[in-house]
């Protein structure tokens, strides 16, 4: 593990630059806003407690946080730890109704994607990871990531066009 001061700087930088985006990505992937922030906090602790920091911290934390949430679903467990709640999700106002409808359609389209496609789509489009970075984070080949992205892109585009029609 890094020195305490270095770790603190690293955590602070992550909170400043990546935290909100990663929480949003995890929430989008899982559809579970309530647990997204908690899971991301756990993933931060997990990542920075290790001897070696992951190469792509944001991507790593996204994947681990998603796994945390899936695990908690599987075991159907309640929150047991007191987390710091920093994230506030805005409620859409009336003048944003159209945008909200679009948002719901997008979320549903993402939710309908197979797991692999959904994860690569979230990491690529929401977390901003490149194909190579996703491959590294997930431990798969770049070709596999490209395939999943292509399928996910095609499925999303088709689904969203259908929503409009």
């Amino acid at each position: 593990m890094q020195g305490e001061a270095a770790t603190r700087r690293r955590v602070a930088a992550f909170l400043r630059n990546d935290y909100a985006r990663v929480v949003a990505a995890v929430a989008t992937h899982t559809g579970d806003k309530d647990r997204a922030e908690d899971a991301v906090q756990d993933a931060i602790v997990k990542a920075l407690s290790a001897d070696q920091e992951p190469e792509n911290l944001a991507g790593w934390i996204t994947v681990v946080a998603i796994n945390f949430i899936r695990q908690s679903w599987r075991r159907n467990e309640a929150q047991g730890r007191a987390y710091v709640r920093c994230a506030t999700w805005d409620d859409p106002s009336d003048d944003e109704s159209e945008r909200t409808v679009d948002s719901i359609a997008v979320h549903e389209a993402i939710a309908d994607l197979p797991e692999r496609q959904r994860l690569t789509v979230v990491l690529h489009y929401l977390d901003g990871l490149s194909v190579a970075e996703i491959a590294e984070t997930l431990g798969v080949s770049a070709g596999t990531v490209k395939t999943q992205l292509s399928r996910g892109r095609e499925a999303l585009a088709g689904r969203l066009k259908k929503e409009v029609a």
Binding site: T7, R8, V11, L15, R16, A20, V23, H29, T30, G31, D32, D42, I44, V45, K46, L48, S49, D51, Q52, E55, V63, V64, N67, F68, R70, Q71, W73, R74, N76, Q79, R81, V84, C86, T88, D102, S103, A105, V106, H107, A111, D112, L113, P114, E115, R116, Y125, L126, L138, G139, V140, S141, A142, G143, K146, T147, R153, A157, L160, K161, E163
Partner: protein
């Protein structure tokens, strides 16, 4: 929304627009809490949390969340075929080679699902299994020009670069212990079972109902992708050349110059199978005769040479005949053997 002819940028903008980021306040307090957990506790409360990745550590969702149903549906398929961790995928390669590829080859979704079941059934992760990464599979690329990945891609699929020294089998399993919060626990007692139970035949039941395969197309995709992760891009090719064990030209010396046909015998073998054996006979670089040998059973190939005339011999009484035998397999690998012998008219009885 611009959805018609949606470009990559359009899609990115659309998704980011839909995935609203929360407003974050009170970062200082969060920073202090996280530092306490990291530095003071050493991350003990998440010590048994799952390592990334990945597709393969997917655990079926059964509970909360707007996508829980879809998640459970897809996760069951992922788990059935994939949730076995990196070593499992390597171990599964042999199974793919025999069952999975056959299933894919014949386009049978049901058979592919069965192949996946066979793969999943391999006990990849026992509770106390050594987390040492498995060795890199030794597979050569057939199409170097078509590859879009480097060796690190392949290695990355089977190693755990982020695993900390205290990583145990449970982490390799991708199965966190979850007793509180977001599925994280200090209790590691039941951890090993997590990944194993997730990989067992019970999960396969998510894709099999009463013997009927559901979502077969996606199951096949999962199998293909798993194989993609293991193999370099491009088809796997036979790179082993045939072996020519013997070339029997004894028939030439006694008969070829005497107006009779002469038989030659070649014994050649190959790891996959010899596809063709040909023979070239040349004399003084003037005469050149090619024949294709016939498979006579086993590793033996035979051919018959037409008799030579004195004119063919360029007036020489004891010309040196060069015989070149080429054995080739289906993949195009070939081996050449050369023999030289002197023919003599005096050999004619």
């Amino acid at each position: 929304m611009a959805r018609d002819g949606m470009s990559d940028e359009d899609l990115r903008d659309l998704l980011r627009s839909a995935a609203e980021e929360p407003r974050v306040e009170g970062e200082d307090e969060l920073l202090d809490v996280l530092m306490a957990r990291i530095v003071t506790d050493g991350g003990a409360d998440v010590a048994d949390a799952p390592e990334p990745p990945s597709f393969l550590s997917a655990i079926p969702g059964t509970g909360a969340g707007t996508v829980a149903t879809a998640d459970a549906r897809s996760a069951s398929k992922v788990t059935a075929l994939g949730a076995r961790g990196r070593r499992g995928r390597v171990a599964g390669a042999a199974g793919i080679g025999i069952a999975g590829w056959v299933a894919i080859g014949i386009g049978s979704a049901a058979a592919a699902a069965t192949a996946g079941a066979l793969i999943t059934g391999v006990p990849f992760f026992g509770g106390g299994e050594d987390p040492t990464p498995a060795p890199t599979p030794s597979i050569e690329r057939a199409d170097a020009a078509g590859q879009d990945q480097d060796a690190s891609d392949v290695t990355g699929a089977i190693t755990a670069p982020h695993a900390s020294p205290d990583t145990d089998a449970s982490q390799q399993n991708g199965a966190p212990d979850a007793s509180g919060g977001s599925g994280v626990s200090q209790d590691s007692g039941d951890t090993p079972g997590g990944g194993t139970e997730g990989n067992s035949g019970g999960d396969l039941g998510g894709g099999l109902v009463g013997g009927v395969v559901e979502g077969a197309d996606e199951l096949v995709d999962e199998v293909v992708d798993d194989v993609d992760d293991l193999l370099p891009d491009g088809p796997v090719k036979d790179l082993v050349s045939p072996v020519i064990h013997s070339v029997d030209l004894s028939g030439l010396t006694g008969t070829l110059l005497c107006g009779d046909t002469a038989q030659v015998n070649v014994v050649a073998s190959d790891a996959v199978g010899v596809e063709d054996v040909s023979l070239n006979l040349s004399i003084l670089s003037v005469i050149s005769t090619d024949i294709s040998l016939d498979h006579a059973g086993g590793d033996t190939w035979t051919g018959t040479l037409a008799p030579l005339s004195l004119l063919d011999l360029g007036g020489l009484l004891a010309p040196l005949v060069n015989v070149t035998v080429v054995a080739e397999d289906a993949a195009g690998n070939s081996t050449t053997a050369q023999e030289s012998l002197a023919l003599s008219l005096f050999d004619c009885g």
